[in-house]
């Protein structure tokens, strides 16, 4: 088998999918790309057994064929080759020879028959969503996903499909984000949990454009296709926690703050907080919000005050500043509204202005104030 391909274009395509490959895998073939040529179309596949990504590109070739090529060495070499056509020749023992203007490079490939088979898209349902909308949904939720493998249901984003809207929900048990997108139509009410890694890969592969994506899913897998790029991932087989019951419906106290001011103050004050909790205590009284952090081990202390609009009784409540900063990032408005009740109950954060077709709600549990 033999084909000719532009070095820079090949590199660009490989980099779109190389994130799938884990650096230290038990099965050596998972460190390879599968190259498959059919009618001058090269399909490149990468997988970690949970996620599969494939891209297609045009190449010059006379015959069809398949081979597995070690990913790291291929990418490392392409990065250093100036843009030019490269000739790949593969013999029957899967030895690969790459010829460039500068010289020849050899690498041992592997038998493509040993490359894991892709899951088949049986019994799928589908919906369409614009690339930018899916991208926004991922960006607004992924940060709140848990890393706790002992509670697998929370290690992905929950897609809750309704007839005319989708809710994307993520939680790590300490905070929760629910992002609702209304101008999408789903054929039926349904739900699934998509793991973190493939969503991260989509974040990098999808354009921020109005291109329509077709999202297929069945009981076990998710299939996202954009042009010649496709991602398939195994869904998380677990029950998402009943998140609706933990969203407080009647937090009586309302705090209104300038988002960027609040975020900057949190960043400055949290430098002085205990590094294991990032605890920043908020004292709210009248139109004044005080922020206080300390680390007794090092005698660090940070205090600030800022103005706010507050409707409620005087309150002292502590949060992990890192959580607050990340959640404020997800809010796209100049001001945010924080709804509170007591110092041990969840606070709700909402942007004050939102686009018509979207609704963002975030929950965060406080830290116990050790008085």
């Amino acid at each position: 088998m033999k084909f000719i391909v532009s070095s820079s274009s090949l590199l660009k395509h490989l980099q779109q999918i190389s994130g799938v490959i884990n650096s230290n895998t038990v099965l050596p073939i998972l460190e390879d790309f599968l190259f498959e040529i059919e009618d001058k179309k090269l399909t490149i596949v990468a997988t970690d057994l949970e996620t599969v990504m494939r891209v297609q590109m045009e190449v010059e070739s006379k015959a069809n064929g398949k081979v597995c090529i070690p990913a790291k060495i291929l990418i490392d070499s392409l990065k250093n080759i100036p843009d030019q056509p490269l000739t790949f020749s593969i013999d029957k023992n899967f030895a690969i020879e790459i010829t460039s203007d500068n010289g020849k490079y050899k690498v041992m490939g592997e038998n493509p028959d040993n490359f894991p088979k892709e899951p088949v898209a049986d019994d799928t349902n589908s919906f369409t969503i614009s690339s930018s909308s899916l991208l926004t949904a991922i960006n607004k939720t992924l940060f709140a996903v848990s890393n706790d493998d002992l509670r697998p249901a929370m290690t992905g984003v929950y897609f809750e499909l309704h007839k005319d809207f989708i809710q994307f929900v993520a939680t790590d048990a300490h905070r929760l984000v629910r992002y609702k997108k209304t101008n999408v139509k789903c054929p039926k009410e349904d739900n699934f949990i998509a793991p973190k890694k493939p969503l991260n890969l989509l974040k990098n592969a999808l354009p921020d454009s109005d291109d329509e994506l077709t999202v297929n899913y069945n009981a076990s897998h998710l299939f996202v296709t954009h042009g010649s790029t496709q991602l398939i991932c195994r869904l998380i087989d677990a029950r998402f926690p009943d998140y609706k019951v933990v969203i407080p419906t009647d937090n009586p106290y309302k705090l209104l703050v300038q988002k960027s001011d609040f975020q900057s103050a949190l960043r400055r004050v949290s430098v002085f907080s205990n590094k294991s909790t990032n605890q920043v205590a908020l004292s709210i009284s009248g139109s004044e919000l005080q922020l206080a952090a300390q680390d007794v081990d090092f005698s660090f202390e940070g205090n600030e005050r800022m103005s706010c609009q507050y409707d409620g009784e005087d309150l002292q409540i502590a949060f992990n500043a890192k959580f607050l900063i990340e959640m404020l990032n997800a809010a796209n408005s100049d001001e945010v509204k924080i709804e509170l009740s007591t110092s041990t109950k969840a606070g709700i954060i909402k942007p004050t202005e939102q686009a018509e077709e979207e609704e963002l709600l975030m929950l965060v549990m406080p830290l116990m104030l050790n008085s």
Partner: protein, 357 residues
């Protein structure tokens, strides 16, 4: 560097002796401090009476009971051991501040210069042993020599209540005659490997050059090369911070059965957990080390949002990591479990973060 005087003190059957001291009913009896057999507990320390039956530290308690049917199992009181350890340390501090504790029951002391201007390190070791006996009603064994390696081996030579001195001019001969299995850092598997290569004593190791040793034993080869020549410059470090706590085991035969692997992970995790609890430590990051039969090494780690020290969570996490590493057609010769990102438990930084679910 001038000739150093290093003492290694090792409390005899520490936890068991404290229990026997505090509870006269246990005196003279075969006892084991550790977790209960039905909870897959392991032996932390066995009394000398129990050791006669073959009961050893880190052994599954179930096995210990089989070996020694009358064994009395005592639940550990780590707070008490920690307090006693502090009292022992205060005895050391009468002589030097260069104290490097290895655990609650073991420490290196550098007495080259000491607070009481005692010339003889042997005399200091004797005084420490008497003070431990008179003030705490416990016994300790001491090893005295010119470096940490020899001092540590010496302290183990005449247990219990021993004192062994290896004079500077005897160090070379001592190491040459030392069986390889008594070398610190040589476990059963390495010892078997050495024996298979006809390396039985320090003298045999000395015949190999540094390159050969490194080729055979990896980074330990370098250590062996220096040690058999009596070179051990490691200082006694008083403030060595504990960065991680771990335990590992090489299996006699390679394992591939998931249930067997799970059992080993639980056993090793129990050891790690008890070491953490002894020191009142907790850690966030669990690391699993896997060495396959082809010597390929894989380490995988996972960080919890909060610090933990309990055996169940450590074992569950390590097992999860093992499963994720792929178990099809693998043969595993070694498993190790470690906990790092350590915080001391005494602080207020506990689980202050409230949860939604």
């Amino acid at each position: 560097m001038t000739q150093r005087k290093i003492i290694h003190i090792d409390m005899d059957a520490f936890y068991a002796s404290v229990e026997q001291r505090d509870n006269p009913l246990l005196k003279g009896k075969a006892i084991a401090v550790g977790g209960l057999p039905e909870q897959r507990g392991v032996v932390a320390t066995a009394s000398y009476e129990a050791r006669k039956f073959g009961v050893r530290s880190a052994m599954a308690m179930k096995r210990a009971v089989q070996l020694c049917p009358g064994l009395v199992i005592v639940t550990p009181r780590f707070a008490v051991y920690k307090e006693v350890s502090r009292q022992v340390r205060s005895i050391f501090e009468r002589y030097t501040d260069l104290i490097e504790p290895l655990s609650l029951d073991e420490a290196y002391l550098d007495v080259t210069e000491n607070k009481q201007q005692i010339v003889s390190a042997i005399a200091i070791a004797q005084q420490i042993k008497s003070a431990v006996r008179d003030e705490l009603q416990l016994t300790a064994s001491a090893g005295v020599s010119i470096n940490k390696f020899v001092a540590k081996i010496a302290s183990g030579m005449n247990k219990p209540d021993g004192l062994t001195f290896i004079a500077p001019d005897k160090v070379t001969a001592f190491i040459e005659n030392l069986p390889v299995e008594d070398f610190h850092g040589v476990g059963k598997v390495t010892a078997d490997k050495m024996n298979a290569l006809h390396l039985f004593t320090g003298a045999d190791l000395k015949k190999l050059d540094e390159a050969e040793l490194t080729k055979l034993f990896g980074k330990h080869g370098h250590f062996f090369y220096k040690i058999v020549r009596g070179i051990d410059d490691r200082p006694v470090e008083p403030n060595r911070e504990i960065k991680s706590v771990s335990a590992e085991d090489t299996f006699i035969t390679d394992l591939s059965n998931i249930m067997e692997l799970k059992e080993q992970i639980e056993r090793i995790s129990a050891i790690v957990s008890s070491r953490l609890e002894q020191n009142k430590y907790k850690g966030r990051t669990i690391t699993l080390k896997i060495r396959y039969s082809n010597f390929r090494l894989l380490t995988r780690s996972y960080s919890h949002p909060v610090s933990i020290s309990d055996r169940e969570t450590i074992a569950a996490t390590a097992f999860q990591l093992l499963v994720k590493s792929g178990l099809d057609n693998v043969k595993i010769r070694l498993l190790g479990v470690g906990v790092s990102n350590i915080t001391e438990l005494d602080g207020a930084a506990g689980n202050a973060q409230l949860s939604l679910f």
